[in-house]
Amino acid sequence: MLNLSINGNRQALDIDPQTPLLWAIRDYVGLTGTKYSCGIAQCGSCTVYLDGAPVRSCITPVSDAVGKEVTTIEGLSTPAGQAVQAAWKELEVVQCGFCQSGQIMSAASLLHRNQKPSDADIDQAMQGNLCRCATYARIRQAIKVAAGKLSGGQS
């Protein structure tokens, strides 16, 4: 039995410890905001946090999450996370939306580390998150808007 804490809720899962965290979250816990798209850490759609640090859940064995706090898009509640989600809404970033949970998790993580990211910082932090709709222009803008709000209204 694997004891996990996901978004503050305890979960006991009787599954193969090598099962990727992604499928534990989706198929056994039933949280579907985290998406499967590539399975080999090439696209970032499955990004979640382990103790606040972003990981690609498609290649992370669920056993790695034992004893750590897992945060998914459904549980993202940091000020940076909320600022990113608000900016995403304000700038209407989403199109098909499938990659956006991962984009938002990565963007919030960037702002956790760096409250005033430059364009180069944004490109570097976000280049592992693919968007086939190419919403990249608005993702850049939205991260700047969120950063501005976090640092007191100046964007």
Partner: protein
Amino acid sequence: MNTKQIINLSRRRFVAGSTASLVSLTLGILPSVKAEQREAGPGIAGKAPETAGDFSPNAFLRIDADGMVTVISKHLEMGQGTYTGMATLVAEELDADWDKVRVEGAPADAGRYNNLFWGKAQGTGGSTAMANSWEQMRRAGAAAREMLVQAAAEQWQVDAAQITVSSGVIKHAASGRQAGFGELAELAAKQPVPELIELKDPESFKLIGKHIPRKDSLEKINGQALFTQDIQLPGMLTAVVLHPPRLGAKVLKVDRKGALAVKGVREVIDIPTGVAVVAEGFWQAKLGRDALTVTWDDSKAFDKSSEQILDDYRKLAQKPGLEARKAGDAVTAIAASDTSIESEYSVPFLSHSAMEPMNCVVRIDKDKCEVWNGEQMQTSDQHQIAGLLGLDPKQVHINMLYAGGSFGRRANPAADYLLETVHIAKALKPGTPLKMIWSREDDTHGGYYRPLYLHRLRAALDDQGDPEAWEQRIVGQSILKGTPFESVMVKDGVDMTSVEGAANLPYEIKHIQVDLHSPDLPVPVLWWRSVGSTHTAFAVESFVDELAVKAGQDPLAYRRKLLRSHPRHLAVLNLAAEKAGWGESLGRNRGQGIAVHESFNSYVAQVAEVSVRRDVISVDRVVIAVDCGVAINPDVIEAQMQGGMGFGLSAALFSELTFKDGSVEQSNFNDYRILRIDQMPEVEVYIVPSAEPPTGVGEPATPVIAPAVANAVYAATGQRLRQLPLRLS
């Protein structure tokens, strides 16, 4: 649920109208567009319907007792903003409160929910959603508004003419009475459906043309939006399929023991497309598939390589093909000219590679089948599934979910991944919900690609350097051959989707000849965002640039001269050039390129600025001008221009699907490369103000970027790149 439908459906009429067969699909997309527009489209704005009851507002909206307006979208939301657009049209004429409008997907029903440009077939494609719905949805909203007003007049015993509606509130100023939609919904349902409907003067639009929020944003931001991948049903099983490594190979022998030994694996099932492993969840099914041992019979498998195909096409391009356009005598004029020029352009196979790999959920019972899918072609899929199960199409209920991208892949007349799912579910205990998920590798190998194409272009210039003759020979597989669309959209052997963007060359040239070879190959092919224009725009707009260079003229001025009688092309061309600062020197290793192209009745021009460093092409800035008629939602249009261009930029710079001895060489995003954020240029979008009926925006930005970038690379380096993806040597 306390939903009160404000208008009772005339069920009998709709059922009678929903018996469309696959044959009705053959009314086609492109050829019928113009005719349908005349009959059901924008040409009769503001007038009554031609025959009473040829549309019915109730099929498209419902208002509940709380005043919530639910707009029922006949079109798929796959990112292009359709749900928002459909709701905008209804809410505008209804004078609804935008915050109290929600959208849900319509069920499959060719009688009620057909695409007006496609005859009696329901589907989303060809950038037609807003164009075909422009009047229909506004009428739906206007009819409902009128019935609410009549209900208020009856309830308050006042003159209907003195009642106003604004932002979801119905008012009679003289008596000081007012009510929300919900309070009058029940009474409104009893009013007669108005026969004569007056639509608003565009001057009084409150939602159309304004910046209003998307309807699908919030749930896509907080992880609550439901895609096919997210459907969870009690007792549901998950399947993955082992497909043959080479196209056309068949299963010879399966050793199931390893798979069945994996914990959680329930069944291993032979299906026509391979071997399916059914398990409790995806990961177990995948482990089960890894443990399968299958011997394949390759005797009839595809064995060609992309290089070989290209060579074959090159030879074919030396021979005349079927005529797609002929004006004057281009061949003779070119033979007689001493300033002729010849070039070959080619593009590879491409996978759609939507972020959500193909998947489908079905539950089959004795006399019905329920489907959950990001549905791009509802009624065709419904017929295909019904055919496989021996059911009446009405017994196949399709739940339309959001699609995590599609770009044409989920609009397959062959319904490939849906039928694969049905084949598996059919072998399970009746009533077992089954989710079939393709891995990314399955999706990349799954076929239905944008075909590989080769273009051979020749031209002759006159004394002024203007082209007097243009000959374009196109070689590539037909997308429509063998589909129900063939009978209408393949004319005298010419697949319209192979030559669109070339046969309708807008440039003023005396002698024009465009012809086509459509060789057969076993590689399944399909439309890919902007279809024929994905290759014709690249070939045409690059070659025009070559002519301008040969003539020693500015590429913008050259195009302007040849487009003098095409005002909509000219307007976008001039706007993009002006905003981009066309002609400014960008310095060493940098250059500007321009291209203009019409697709799906929308006009797009793009100016690309590129830098070249150590043979790496970086696109720094792209300026886009678009004329799509009335701009229903400028914010969505801007997003589609940015994203459509970005989608095309993937193909311009990175994406390439190649065959080696019958097998696809790429498998995932590591080798089938698509654009990443650090490769996305700065983008500016300008919309030409227009009162023309709205046309599509989902596709038209995509085909323009490859030639704009190729032309910019030429300006920067002097190297003319004629093959996609663009590579400097």
